[in-house]
Amino acid sequence: MIAKKVLLVGNFGVGKTSLIRRFVQNKFSEDYISTIGVRVSSKVVEFENNEVKLLIWDVAGTSGDEKIPKAYFLGASAAMFVFDLSRSETYLTIENYIESIKDLSGLKEVTIVGNKRDLLTKEELKTVTDSISVKINIITSAKEDANVEDAFLKLASQALK
C-alpha cells in the first residue's frame, strides 16, 4: 500500500483537529487538544482504485510561530491550509501563510480550506470569500460533516500527483 505524509496547517482554533476527527474517526468533539505543535493520525482512503494510507500531520501554526519545528514540514507529499471563515485574523495574511508552507515543505501546491461554514449566513459567506485574495478550494463544516471527505480526497489526489 502507498503511504503518504500530508500536512494540515492553520492557526489555533480553526478546526483542523475537528476535521481530522470527523474524517478519521467520523465523530466530532469540542475538545481542544494541546500538543507539542503537531498531532499525527492515519487513515486509509481509496482514490482512483488505489489504496492510500494518509499520515496526517496536524500542525498548529506555520513558520511565523517559532515553536513549530521546521522539520514537521519535511517529506510531505501534500498540504492543506485551513482557516476559520468566521475569524478574519485566520485568513488576513493567507498569502504569506501559503508561501511559508510552500517554502518549508517544498510543495508547489497547497489545498485551501475554509472551515466552520455552519457559523455564517449565505450573505456573510459571500462577503468573506469575496474578500480573500486566493482561491478557496473547499468550504467545509466539521461540525455538520459537510465536504470533509472531499477535502481529504483532494489532499490524497495532490499527494499522488
Binding site: 503518504k4 505524509k5 498531532r39 492515519s42 494510507k53 519545528p69 522539520a71 517529506g75
Partner: protein, 261 residues
Amino acid sequence: MGKQAEDNKNDSRFELLRELLLEDDRDKLAETVHPLIDEKIENLRLNFPEYFGEAITKAIKVQIRDSQDEVVEALYPILGKLVKKFIVAEITKLSDNINRTIKEKLSIGSIIKRFFKGGNNNADVILQEVFEPIIEEVFVIQKDSGLLVGNFSRGNIAEKDMISGMLTAIKSFAEEAFSKEKQNLEDIKFETFQLSIQNFKTLYIATVISGVINIKFKENLHDNLNNLAEIILRDRSYLANEEKLSKIIQEILINKNLEPF
C-alpha cells in the same frame, strides 16, 4: 356571642368527623387502604434504584467532590494495606529470584567459566539475570516524513503508523528545541522501558527495550543495528517491501541472541 355559636358548630363538625374516621368505618377503611400502602411499599422496594438511583448517585458525587479530604482519609488505610501487601509480595518474588540467581552464578563452575570468558562483575551479572533486557519493538522509520518502513513487535500494536509519526515529531521537536548544534535525540526512558534511536542518513531505527541494559548489550545492539542499516541501505528493495524488511529485522536483531554479558 356570634363567635361562640360558630365555635360550637365547628366543634360538633370535628366530633362528627372523628367518629366517622375512628369508630365504625375505621376497620373498613383499613381493609381498603392497607393493601394499597403495602403495594406501594413493595413497589418502592423493588424499584428503589430506578426512582432514586440517579439522585443518590448525584448526591454521593457532590459529597465526594466537596469532602475529598474526608474520602481520602477514609480510603487511605484500606489502600495503604493493599499497596503494602502488593509490595511485600513483589519483594518476596524478587528476593527469591535474586537468591536463585546468586546460587547459580556463584557456583564454582560458573565462576571458572566467567574467569576464562571475562566480563562483568557479580552485581551486573545478577542484575542482568533478574532483569534480562528484551527487545520488545523495532521501528524502521523514514527520517523526514516519519513514514514507517518496517517493524517488529512482540505485542500487537494497532497504531504503529501513528506511533512512528508521533515519534518522528517528538524527535524533531526535541532536536530543534534543545540542540545547539546538529545533534540527534538518542534515548527516551519511560517507566521500565527504554527507547533507543539510532540515526542514519535517510532513516532511523527505534528499538524499545525492557529490562536492565548494560554496556555490553548496548554495544551489541549498536553493532547489530549498524549491520541491519547497511543491509537495508545497500539493497533498497527492503524499503519497498515491508514483509521482507520485517524478516531481516527479526533475523538480525531478534533471533541473533544479543549476549547480555
